[in-house]
Amino acid sequence: MIELQHIKKAFGKTVALDDLSLSVPKGELFAFLGPNGAGKTTTIRILNGLSYLDSGKAFIAGVDILKNPLDAKRLCGMVAQHTNLDGELTVMENLDIHGRLFGMSKKDRLDSSLELLEYVEMADRRQSFVKTLSGGLKRRLMIARALIHKPQLLFLDEPTVGLDASIRRRIWSLIKKINQAGVTIFLTTHYIEEAEFLADRVAFILEGKLRETGVPSDIMARLGYWAVDTFENGDMHTGFFPDREAAGDYIQSLKGGGTLRRVNLEDAFVTLTGKRVK
């Protein structure tokens, strides 16, 4: 569904993407993981036609985004990191304008809008002005808007950033539901648990370079299954173990004790890159 070949992008002297190549098959929920400024949003902006690429090629469902940008855009929906709804319009007006931009008929716009508002549990807010909605409702409306023209591919750029834990969980359920309905999802996040919970496959990006790609459980298994955090001389150290018994034996051997937990993607990211995700 997505094919990136040797993408390069710089803003002045700052390199945002450095020879980035990756591929995302149809139907996959793919998470792009990295700290702020790693190049995640730049990748999404290029794929959506919001930024130019300096060199390389990019295809969406086989469509070259440089040669046929409008055809490529018809296949995609996008939920940006920041709210980009029309605050001065109502919920229904926002959905209707989006449907018109994608050339939908009046009946399809209305049917799809009502169906999606039910889907994101906002049917009772359809006549509300967007500027009166909470952050969580705006985020759900952005997801509904991105789906109205029935895209094959949905880009979610930090979809839960700034939302509280309970709303984040609801958004996760929604994302899973959308993916199970057959929509390929390209998700960027710097929330480790979000990528672990949602993604079929993850990629680590740091300073514009792809560092690792794979299934989360496989990436984590390379380190082991259990981790022990210890504090020595003011620094945190983490040890990785293949089983709980080995980790327990290690803790007992320590003078100051340690904290036992499951290995997570953050451990894999730190081990591979030497940097933390957040």
Partner: protein, 244 residues
Amino acid sequence: MSAFFAIYLREMLILKHKFKRQIASMSVSPLLYMLTFGCALASSVNLDGVSYLEFLIPGLVAMASMTQAFAIATDINVARFYFHAFEEFQAAPVSRMSFVLGETLAGLTRALLSIAIVLILGFLFGVRLHLGFYFFAAILLNSFAFASLAVAMAMLVKSHADQGLLSNFIITPMAFLGGTFFPLDSLPTWAQAILNILPLSHASKAIRADALGQPPELIPFVVLAGACIVFFTLAIFSVSKARD
């Protein structure tokens, strides 16, 4: 073409939601000009048998068509820098031509609304003008030209503050020097030559000629049509500059 209409409709919905405020806002300037310049100077100024108010109102029509058409730039920038809604258009299958045409026609619609207000106020002040074909042709060309320029500027600026600067350096001087408040032929030849470069000078001349029942001149219409083509083309090329 549905994309172009979506862009236009969006601007019209925003206008509808703030219609009363917009009408009040559009009325303030022409009302003040008519009260201060028109009434205060009416008894002391007579221009070849034409009262100053009769002279002023076609100028105010030209000025309103320019300022309100150009004001679409502010709406675009609110969408671009505050609501980030411009990204929605960039990510949608909307051609540059559709975007520019939708926004330009929205600017033109705003301009027509403000012109209606000026004419109604003029009527209330007792001024009766001839509103013929050339009057409306000049209005449409002038509004289209400045709405296109507004779209181009809105794409090229990098912040709200830049937009304010452009208005101060382009629109405000033109509003005062474009034949709105005084006849340009009363100025020295060199000043006339400079001010005749401004599209608004030609719009004022064409609109005023028809409003006062005088025969139309060709040159103002050629200049305004040329401005439409140049500014609209500039706007189409400027859309690409709004990407990073």
